[in-house]
């Protein structure tokens, strides 16, 4: 296999194309736009036979996706930030209707102030929607996870939307060498699309999206949906094992980086892990017992794996790229709950909102301790 120089956005578009979607409803927003532009060209050039539906909003993109996926067609879409916020209502419904849509989220800060750069506030807005969220560290991972996404979404024990989250600009727009699998290999890997009772099978009609009352069903249906989301973790592990056999690239719910004997461990999602790895390497060379734990599926959260990986840590430092004003930032809150009862110390920082960079020196400072909760906020936002 040879590597091509591709941006994360281009890599996602290739992953979508090779997954052979039937319907792709899209609406442009930075930094997702390169994904849909490249994909549109694939359709124009006959390299994808998808019906491209140029909808008039992200709300309609997800709505059309639900209709198509339940009708019996493999369906994919992509968005970012305000687009995800606009479609949020229907993301919840997609999950509850068990529509196995594969999507990409080019992570970008939510307004306001309006800002096109990376943070994870958009993904966190739909944290509780019931969809699978997989965070990529780089363009290669974005592609690989996009190839795996339909397999996880369409698994009969799951049947839920799957979002591949890639950091805006840092991954969507930066070119890196990416190894693509051959088209036919991916086609065999993803297989044919099947959902129970496709709507276009008119001989066996079903009623979808009815309303459920408090006395019966609503709670039970929500519970069943939660079980399906938990199932997605085992399915992810199985699908990743099959993917490794094809590609040689290994994916696990958590990635432990130099955790052997690590006393201080940073936890993060997404591309920041790359920066942290560099800092960890430097500090290890200097004899410090530090390491990184990167989480790939934020939903479902691999709590057992996180606990096991952190068994030897004395101090766990969570880096959140989203805030929860007036409360606890999401990843920090989740890790605190996961580690409840353990002996280790827990420290939490919010960083990088609106695309503010976190460099190796910053990571070293965080490992050194004594840094503020909101790391990277300047005292004076007005340059003197």
């Amino acid at each position: 296999m040879t590597a091509e120089l591709l941006t994360g956005g281009e890599a996602i578009a290739h992953g979508m194309r090779q997954g052979q979607p039937d319907v792709v409803p899209v609406y442009p927003i930075t930094p997702q736009t390169p994904i849909i532009q490249v994909f549109s060209k694939f359709v124009s050039d006959g390299r994808s036979h998808a019906e491209l539906v140029d909808v008039e909003s992200e709300h309609s993109a997800m709505s059309a996706a639900i209709g198509a996926a339940l009708a019996g067609a493999r369906t994919m879409t992509a968005t970012s930030s305000q687009g995800l916020a606009l479609m949020a209502e229907v993301v919840y419904i997609a999950a509850s209707m068990r529509a196995p849509i594969a999507m990409a989220i080019g992570n970008r800060a939510l307004s306001g102030p309006i800002n096109i750069h990376c943070d994870h506030s958009d993904s966190m807005l739909i944290r509780d929607s019931g969809i699978v969220q997989l965070f990529a560290e780089n363009a290669q991972e974005a592609y690989d996870l996009m190839v795996m996404a339909p397999r996880i979404a369409e698994h009969p024990d799951v049947l839920l939307p799957v979002a591949v989250c890639l950091d805006g600009f840092t991954i969507t727009h930066a070119a890196e060498p990416v190894e693509l699998l051959p088209d036919d290999v991916v086609a065999t890997f993803v297989g044919e699309y099947h959902v129970p009772h496709p709507m276009l099978e008119v001989s066996s009609p079903t009623t979808r999206g009815p309303f459920a009352m408090p006395d019966y069903y609503y709670y039970e249906l929500r519970h069943a949906q939660g079980v399906a989301l938990r199932n997605a973790l085992d399915v992810f592990i199985d699908v990743a094992a099959e993917f490794e056999a094809l590609s040689g690239r290994r994916y696990e719910p958590v990635q432990s980086y130099r955790l052997d004997g690590a006393e201080r461990v940073l936890i993060a999602l997404g591309s920041t892990a790359g920066t942290i790895k560099d800092a960890v390497d430097e500090l290890r060379d200097e004899g410090e017992a530090v390491g990184l734990l990167r989480i790939t599926p934020f939903r479902p959260l691999p709590m057992d794996e996180i606990r096991a990986a952190l068994a030897g840590a004395q101090r766990v430092i969570v880096l959140d790229r989203a805030d929860s004003p007036g409360g606890v930032a999401p990843l920090g809150a989740e890790i605190a709950a996961t580690l409840y009862g353990s002996e280790c110390e827990l420290e939490r920082h919010v960083y990088g909102l609106g695309g503010r960079d976190l460099g190796v020196a910053d990571v070293r400072a965080i490992f050194a301790g004594g840094t503020p909760d909101h790391f990277g906020v300047r005292e004076h936002s007005w340059p003197a």
């Binding site: 709505s63 419904i93 008119v202 009609p205 249906l221």
Partner: protein, 312 residues
Amino acid sequence: MARLKNLIENEHGVPPLRGGHSLCQGCGIPIVVRTVLSSLPGPAVIVNATGCLEVATTRYPTTAWNVPWLHVAFENTAAVASGIESAQRALRRRHALPEGQEISIVAFAGDGGTYDIGLQALSGALERGHKFLFVCYDNEAYMNTGVQRSGATPFGTRTTTSPPGAESFGKAQRRKDMTAIAVSHHIPYVAQGVASHWDDLSRKVERAAAVQGPSFLNVLTDCPVGWGHEPRTTRTVLDTAVDTHFWPLYEVADGAYTLNYEPEHQLPIEKWLEHQSRFAHLLKPENRGHVEEIQAQVDADWNDLQARCAST
């Protein structure tokens, strides 16, 4: 009367929408739905907006539908239909559907789900040219949430959010002309119908189903609860809307206007106002001026429609 025979036959055995639902007595919505679905040439997939029809027919785990039926939300019915239509095209292209089987995609939404919150998704779907039939069952207010005013609520109407009072005579604005909005999308077929003229509605559904592209039917239907009339008067109340020229029955096929029904004698607008308690305040002497205003609006719209029919 071949059409009547077809309708009766279609209602035998397994009707698309069966009884046992909880729509109110005298509600015109099921008349619209059954007329539409029994007039289609073949199988259909239904997309339904949130509203009375959806709530009253699908209380889980029961259903009143014998045809594939899907509800996602309030404002996105046309977008969901776009997705199903695109799926149908994609699956047909790769021979994943039975050859020769044409499935109609029919969206039902109330006036709220059409004129107001659903307008953007509808406009987008019409502009993109999906082949589907969008049926607005227009009962002139948000009924499911308890009779609030919508963009379809007529001038002067009492609703729970436009209550008449010392400073108000009811809704202060005119209703929007949704049929004209649909026409301005240059789609192949647009028509106005009414629940009580089932033969006219049935013929319009047949025409709509035959076009290649989107079609839009704006069907006036009553709500005894929100309009304040006796359930048994559904038909006569709706007929009065047509006979006063308040709700003309017409169609626009490839841009050409045709008036489908002309009452022998135009009834004065008071006939439309007087049997519905939502208009009772308008008939008081102090509101005489507003009634005259309504009559003038109706006449101007009628003349405008006549002119369009003559010129296309």
